[in-house]
Structures are given as structure tokens and as C-alpha cells.
């Protein structure tokens, strides 16, 4: 198994809305299930349905997995704030401490003494500019007969120079090339909404990263649906989120996923919590199988809490 850090450098605005139907942007990170579907769809366009079924099987067997994507600023990588972890020693008061949602790698795993709070991010370096800016864009459809127009708004996120999102990808040697090719195509197809206007396009470089064995306490870097062998008592600190959303498919645009309750990034779990990938094919959908990706991506976290 090899691990890569995939650092996405967006070449166009990104439209990732948490609640579909609502046009305001409420979230600007990309969850593991969205990344997984994006890669799988591009793989199917490049290699065909049969080979893609094989890749999904590799993922079900744990030979291919992805984390969610979090912010980076130059070479500083952010992680989701571990649930229950205390950062009071870095900030003046508890109001500020409560705001922290993302924490720099060097604060979590290094021995940095000083830290700076930037919006909801605890950083090693003081950062003046914004990591991203959200802009509202008017959009209109013209009536073809009267020329009357219907105007609505969408929000997009534009990352500043040297800022973007990164995620981890683990894969067995024999499937790495196919996956990297699929991510390259995903960069041209775009990820998130409004891809037809070139949104969500990116360039990337896969950086090989060491793999540390998981330990007693581990930080969850993906969304996760527990499998039947995962023990609920292994969840030390956790948050639950409800995820639905549209099915990301080349063959359908109107179908929705079932609503899933998922364990959120930043949760702390004991031991080897695996999660699962669920067959979520709608009843009247015969083109291909639809899966909800809920495998756990864990890294060890030394912390007395």
C-alpha cells in the first residue's frame, strides 16, 4: 500500500454547497464521498464499466481509500479539529478556542509553541490574506419567446494564490496508475457544482507520503458509516452528520442518495475502525450500481484527552 498527499490547485472557482437546493455556500471543504464518486466516474469514462467495477471491489476490500479534502496554505496543511481536543494554550480565551474547526499539521503533530487564529483555522504562521473568498454570482435564464429573464444567485469559492485543498489517497501498487489518471481527468472535468461552466477544475501533484500504523487513538479524516463489526464503544469523541445529495453519475442527474447518518471528520476512534461502502442503488435505476462511500480514513493521534 502506498499513501499519497494530493494537493489540489484550483484553476477555476469551486462550487461546493452542503445543502442542495439552497444556493448559499455553507461549506468549502470536499468530503470523502464526493471525492470517491468523482474518481470513480472519471475512471469509468476512461477505462469502462467492468474495470471500474473491479476498482470499486478493491475499495470495498480496503485496497483503495481516500480522505476528505482540507485546506492548505503554501506548505502548511490543515486537519479537522479533533473533537474534544483542547487548544486553550494557543489562544487567549475560550470564545476564540470554540471557533477552531481546522488545525495545522505542525500544531497537531509537531512541536510548534506559537499559533495564530485565522477565522476558524489555527495556523503556525500568521496569515493576513484570506484563504478563500466567497462570491455571489448572478445567473439568469432568458425566456426564449418573450426575452423575460429569471435571475438567481449562486455562491462560489475562489482560493487565493498558494491556497487550496488537499486529501490523502491510499492504494495498492497495481491500481495507482489508473487512479492517478482518473484524478487527472477529474481535474479537467471539475469537482462540485456548475462543472458545465468550468468550475471545480484543478491541477495536482501526487506527493508520496509515509504511512503510520494506526494506534489506540486515531483521528478520522473521512466521513464514515460504521460496518457491522465496528464497535460503537470504539467511538471516543465523535460528531454525526446527515448526508444525502444527488448521485454523481454519467447516466443520471435526477436521482438522490438515501439519507445517511455518518461519523464526521475530526472524530476520535479507538483501534481499527473500518467503516464500509454501502450499495445504495435506487430501485428503478438499472444503469450501474450506486454506492455510498463510508470507509474510515484514520491516522494515529498521540493525545491524552
Amino acid at each position: 500500500m502506498k499513501r499519497f498527499r494530493i494537493k489540489l490547485k484550483f484553476t477555476s472557482p469551486l462550487h461546493i454547497g452542503y445543502k442542495e437546493g439552497a444556493f448559499n455556500l455553507t461549506e468549502t471543504i470536499i468530503h470523502s464521498d464526493t471525492i470517491f464518486s468523482g474518481i470513480i466516474n472519471c475512471h469509468s469514462l476512461l477505462y469502462g464499466k467492468d474495470k471500474t467495477d473491479n476498482l470499486i471491489n478493491e475499495a470495498i476490500n480496503g485496497n483503495f481509500k481516500v480522505s476528505s479534502a482540507f485546506y492548505y496554505i503554501n506548505d502548511e496543511y490543515l486537519y479537522p479539529r479533533p473533537v474534544g481536543m483542547n487548544f486553550k494554550k494557543y489562544v487567549d480565551d475560550f470564545k476564540k478556542e470554540k471557533k477552531i474547526n481546522y488545525v495545522s499539521e505542525e500544531i497537531l503533530f509537531g512541536n510548534t509553541k506559537e499559533a495564530y487564529l485565522k477565522d476558524n483555522m489555527l495556523l503556525k504562521k500568521d496569515m493576513k490574506k484570506n484563504v478563500y473568498n466567497v462570491r455571489e454570482r448572478p445567473r439568469s435564464t432568458l425566456d426564449r419567446i418573450t426575452n423575460a429573464s429569471n435571475i438567481f444567485y449562486t455562491s462560489t469559492c475562489v482560493f487565493n494564490e498558494d491556497c487550496g485543498l488537499w486529501f490523502f489517497m491510499d492504494a495498492k501498487d497495481y491500481i495507482i496508475e489508473e487512479i492517478i489518471s482518473s484524478i487527472k481527468l477529474l481535474g479537467d472535468e471539475g469537482i462540485g457544482g456548475d462543472r458545465t461552466y468550468g468550475y471545480g477544475q484543478f491541477e495536482f501533484e501526487p506527493l508520496e507520503h509515509y504511512i503510520e500504523d494506526i494506534k489506540d487513538k486515531n483521528l478520522l479524516l473521512s466521513l464514515c458509516i460504521p460496518n457491522e463489526k465496528d464497535k460503537v464503544e470504539d467511538l471516543i469523541f465523535y460528531n454525526i452528520v446527515e448526508r444525502g445529495g444527488y448521485i454523481y453519475s454519467n447516466y443520471s442527474k435526477v436521482k438522490r442518495h438515501s439519507l445517511f447518518r455518518m461519523i464526521q471528520e475530526g472524530s476520535i476512534v479507538k483501534g481499527d475502525f473500518k467503516g464500509c461502502i454501502i450499495d445504495d442503488t435506487p430501485e428503478d435505476f438499472n444503469y450501474h450500481k450506486v454506492y455510498k462511500y463510508g470507509r474510515a480514513f484514520l491516522i494515529p493521534l498521540d493525545w491524552e484527552g
Binding site: L45, T141, R195, T196, Y251, V254
Partner: protein, 277 residues
């Protein structure tokens, strides 16, 4: 239900310049009046530079192709916004709703190139405006055309142009609209990007299965139609006449992704009149 597997053969990448032959006004919604601003501003990016949103460009190209291919007939027109008779805020919409072409013909050149929107649609089946449900399930394919935002080529704004402009990149026109009923004058300012300005535009056409260059040809026809029409608002006053220049078409096949091959330059035109397909 039929299943036809979709396989990507490659992507045409089309880069060109859009040159403005007359002033261009792509407006923002509403008429929010900034202090010191004009009452009909053009849309600008975070740096305050005007741009042409990909959605405007794509919408215009699509609507021109709908007319050209005679697609605005009963059974081929849907409501994207349904008419609401109690909609007091927008009387125009209350009367008509917003209509466009969308169909379930698997060979439709317009829908296959520009895409089929998600959601449930009501198709208009006769001239009385009666509707029926439209089922697109069997014809959904990924949208072939991607239209990116076109950014202003700053070097196209010459010193001479700047001397006649009101802002860094735009000029302001005063207009006097007469109310047809009361004859009251309604003076308005309209901001526009001046003639001579150029925008960098970029398009992608995905090639699936046995498409070959079918949709590239359709797309080039759409660009020609736009040159004979207008872009943005107030076209009837002569705004928004454009010309495509320095058109470069490259092809990126699947080995670009699988084996890291370079993409190939296929065609290069100074202007659209050189295109012979």
C-alpha cells in the same frame, strides 16, 4: 430501458479571443445603487475587472442553436420556471414562465452539446400552453460542452481608449428611456466595456463513443450565429456585437490522462470565416 455505455474518446479544447465590435453590457442582477456607482453596472470579478460569465455565454449560444435548429416548437419546449398566476412581483413571469428547449430525442444536437438540466420538467404540448411531464431518464448523458468564464485581456485596453473612459475598464452611457404610456423621461446610466476590448475565452467539448467531430462542427456553427447576433444586454441598441479571433483547437485524447501524452494542435484560424468543415 436501454443501456449504452459512455466512453470518453477525448476532449477538444478551443481557445479564442472575443473582440468587441461595439460596447458590451453584461449586467448584474437588480439595480443596486452603490454610492458613486452607476445604476446599471457590468459584472466584475474580485479584482474589479469585467468578465463574461461562462453561464451567459453558454446560455446565449444555446438559445441561438435552439432557434437555428427550429427546436422551439410544441413538444420540444419546457418550462424551466413555471408560470405562477399569483406572482405579483414579476408580471412578465406571471404571464409566461421561463421557456427553453429541452427534449428526450437521443440524437438532439442541441441537448447533446449543451446538456439536459436536472429536475423534473413540464413540456409544452400545444399552442394553448398545455403541459405534460417530460421524462429524460433514458437520454441522460454527461454534458459535452464546458464554457469557462471569459477574462478581459487587459492589453486590449489601449491608452487611447482609456482617455475616453469613465472607469479603469469601462465607459458609462447616458440614455433617456421614454415611458410608453406616461411619456415620462427615465434617464439611466449604463456601464459598458468599450468597443475594441478583447476577452480570452476557452471551451471544452467532450467526445464520447462515436461522436468524432459532430459536436465540434455544431459548436463552430453556434459561434458563427453569435457573430450575427449580440452578447449581453441591449442588443437592439447595437450593444454586444462580437467577433471571434485567433481560434486554436487542440485535441486531448485518453492517452493524455493514461500515459501523459501531450495534446495535439488540430486547427488554427485567424477568424471564423476560415473555418471550412
Amino acid at each position: 430501458m436501454k443501456f449504452k455505455e459512455i466512453s470518453l474518446k477525448g476532449k477538444y479544447i478551443i481557445d479564442a479571443k472575443i473582440e468587441l465590435l461595439t460596447g458590451l453590457h453584461v449586467g448584474t442582477a437588480g439595480n443596486s445603487l452603490d454610492i458613486g456607482g452607476v445604476d446599471n453596472p457590468v459584472i466584475k470579478d474580485a479584482m474589479g475587472k469585467p468578465y463574461i460569465p461562462g453561464s451567459s455565454l453558454k446560455g446565449k449560444l444555446r438559445s441561438l442553436m435552439e432557434f437555428y435548429n427550429n427546436k422551439l416548437v410544441p413538444n420540444q419546449v419546457v418550462y424551466t420556471v413555471e408560470p405562477k398566476n399569483d406572482d405579483k412581483e414579476n408580471k412578465e413571469r406571471a404571464k409566461s414562465g421561463i421557456r427553453m428547449h429541452l427534449c428526450n430525442d437521443e440524437n438532439c444536437e442541441v441537448c447533446n452539446l449543451f446538456g439536459r438540466n436536472h429536475g423534473n420538467h413540464k413540456v409544452i404540448i400545444n399552442n394553448n400552453g398545455d403541459t405534460d411531464d417530460l421524462n429524460l431518464e433514458d437520454v441522460i448523458q454527461p454534458t459535452r460542452l464546458i464554457v469557462r468564464d471569459a477574462s478581459l485581456d487587459e492589453s486590449s485596453i489601449t491608452k487611447e481608449m482609456q482617455d475616453n473612459m469613465d472607469f479603469d475598464y469601462t465607459e458609462v452611457k447616458f440614455e433617456n428611456n421614454l415611458d410608453r404610456i406616461t411619456s415620462a423621461a427615465n434617464p439611466r446610466q449604463t456601464e459598458r466595456v468599450p468597443a475594441g476590448a478583447k476577452f480570452n475565452c476557452s471551451f471544452v467539448i467532450n467526445v464520447y463513443n462515436d461522436d468524432n467531430d459532430t459536436y465540434l462542427k455544431e459548436f463552430l456553427t453556434a459561434l458563427k450565429l453569435l457573430e450575427d447576433d449580440y452578447l449581453g444586454g441591449q442588443g437592439s441598441r447595437g450593444y454586444g456585437q462580437v467577433k471571434f479571433k485567433d481560434i486554436v483547437i487542440r485535441f486531448r485524447d485518453d492517452n493524455y490522462y493514461k500515459q501523459g501524452q501531450e495534446d495535439k494542435k488540430m486547427y488554427e484560424y485567424k477568424e471564423l470565416s476560415e473555418v471550412k468543415f
